[in-house]
Amino acid sequence: MKPVVELSDVWVELGGHTVLEGITMTVGEGEFVSVVGPNGAGKTTLLKVILGLIRPGQGEVRVFGKAPWALGRDRARIGYVPQTEEVDLSFPIRVIDVVLMGRYGALGWMRRPAAADRRAALEAMELVGIGDLADKVIGEISGGQRQRAFLARALAARPDLILLDEPTTGVDPAASGSFYDLLHRIQGRGVTILMVTHDIGVVSQFVDKVACINRKLVVHGRPEEVVTDEVLAEMYGCAALFFHHGRAPHMVVRPHRAFRREGER
């Protein structure tokens, strides 16, 4: 499997504190990896390092085999859905025009979006189920619909790598279920996905690998190997237990003796 994202011994310091400590991990082409960890663990920082928004103090980062700040045209192959979209909700702009911004990077300087870009944007909107909202103003749709619009913007570029930072915050459970299904389908087209989430129980059934981060990379592996008491305890600093019930794992924060082994067998 060709590596799409490679980090080796990446250290990041922000405001005098070490935020990431010697992270080494590889995400292969077509993999769906979720990044989990407590608040302040450095998950968003990790994505920003991959995007080239933060340069590590030490270590090497490679995206499509190049340094993230020297990607050139390959930059347009990355889609990003930030954790909190700090956009002005009173900005006079329609959803379709926001989604079209996903195409801007590939268009380059001074070129305006053409009919083909519009088609790609509409297709991305159909895919995330907001095809009917194209002409709405960005501030006049619900929070969950807006989150889908930002995903559509990331998809509009037809990226080969998508980075998502807690994309289902504020999305209702049914919708976030179909959101994960959608990501799963997108992965089926060969797209590599790296997603930060706290929905660890739910995503375990979709993702290939889980990377547990708490400043250091605690573990990185298949969900059934990773999602154990010990790892979660180390990560969250409290005892937690996952047990599998059919396909869907459940998380119990206070461990229950009776379920203890069942979860792992």
């Binding site: 930030p82 801007y104 001074m110």
Partner: protein, 264 residues
């Protein structure tokens, strides 16, 4: 007597229309970025430049141009580096530049009246040379907006994603502030440093009450800017009132009416 018969009035109307269109369009970015204060800041800094230019004996507009561009890039740089918030950077820069202007006034007693003209404007003294300069400045500003329409929209709406997409956000924001600076210089002779901020803010804020589409906002704000400057000049001619303040008061009145009938 038809006021169009006077050559000075014709020049005033042409210069006014250019200013109205430019300030109306640039004002859209000023209003949406929430930096109305920046227009005032750059204008006051430009006034400091005017005083220095008079002191060293060059065309005051060159002083205004250099000072306002310096302040524009100073604001872009300091806020980009995260040292200071934009508002704080402007607060410091504009008060300092203005103080410098007034301080230097002490040493150019013969030119006080002239300086006063830059503070409050004198549209009826627009020369044909001024007119040529106005065409050049307005043309430059509007061409840059047309060429970088997509880039400016992106950095105004979502600077983080613009950076992710590979656009040089710091340079684009500096360029936007430079357009504000050029608009200030363009308007200085006509409405003066004190009132130019109003031209930058009021037309855009007025149209914003009704329009939910960026493209349309840009066009209609420029159009309203032209209408308000020309309307204000006409009123000032018949009522024999000072043109700059008349334009601003008319624009403010239209804004208040718009606020009352807004549909969002």
């Amino acid at each position: 007597m038809n006021f169009l018969a006077y050559a000075f009035m014709q020049r005033a109307l042409i210069a006014g229309a250019l200013i109205g269109a430019t300030a109306g369009a640039v004002g859209v970015y000023v209003v949406l970025r929430g930096f109305s204060f920046i227009g005032a800041g750059i204008a006051h800094a430009a006034f400091g430049g005017v005083a220095i230019a008079i002191l060293v004996g060059v065309n005051p507009l060159w002083g205004a141009l250099v000072f306002s561009l310096l302040v524009a890039w100073g604001i872009a740089y300091t806020s980009r580096r995260g040292h200071l918030k934009e508002e704080v950077a402007i607060g410091i820069l504009f008060a300092t530049a203005m103080a410098l202007g007034i301080f230097l006034l002490r040493f150019v007693p013969g030119y006080r009246a002239d300086l006063f003209g830059y503070l409050f404007g004198n549209i009826l003294a627009v020369s044909s040379t001024d007119l040529v300069a106005s065409f050049a400045l307005a043309g430059a500003v509007i061409s840059v907006i047309a060429l970088l329409y997509k880039e400016f929209l992106f950095v105004t709406f979502d600077p983080v994603m613009a950076e992710v997409a590979g656009f040089p956000v710091g340079i684009l924001q500096g360029a936007l502030l430079s357009l504000v600076a050029l608009t200030v210089v363009l308007s200085l002779r006509v409405v003066g440093a004190v009132l130019v901020a109003a031209l930058l803010v009021i037309p855009a804020a007025t149209v914003y009450q009704f329009v939910r589409d960026f493209h349309r906002l840009l066009f209609l704000s420029a159009a309203l800017g032209v209408g308000e400057v020309i309307g204000g000049l006409t009123v000032s001619f018949y009522l024999n009132t000072p043109p700059g303040p008349t334009i601003v008061l008319l624009s403010a009145a239209i804004f208040v009416v718009a606020l009352g009938r807004r549909r969002r």
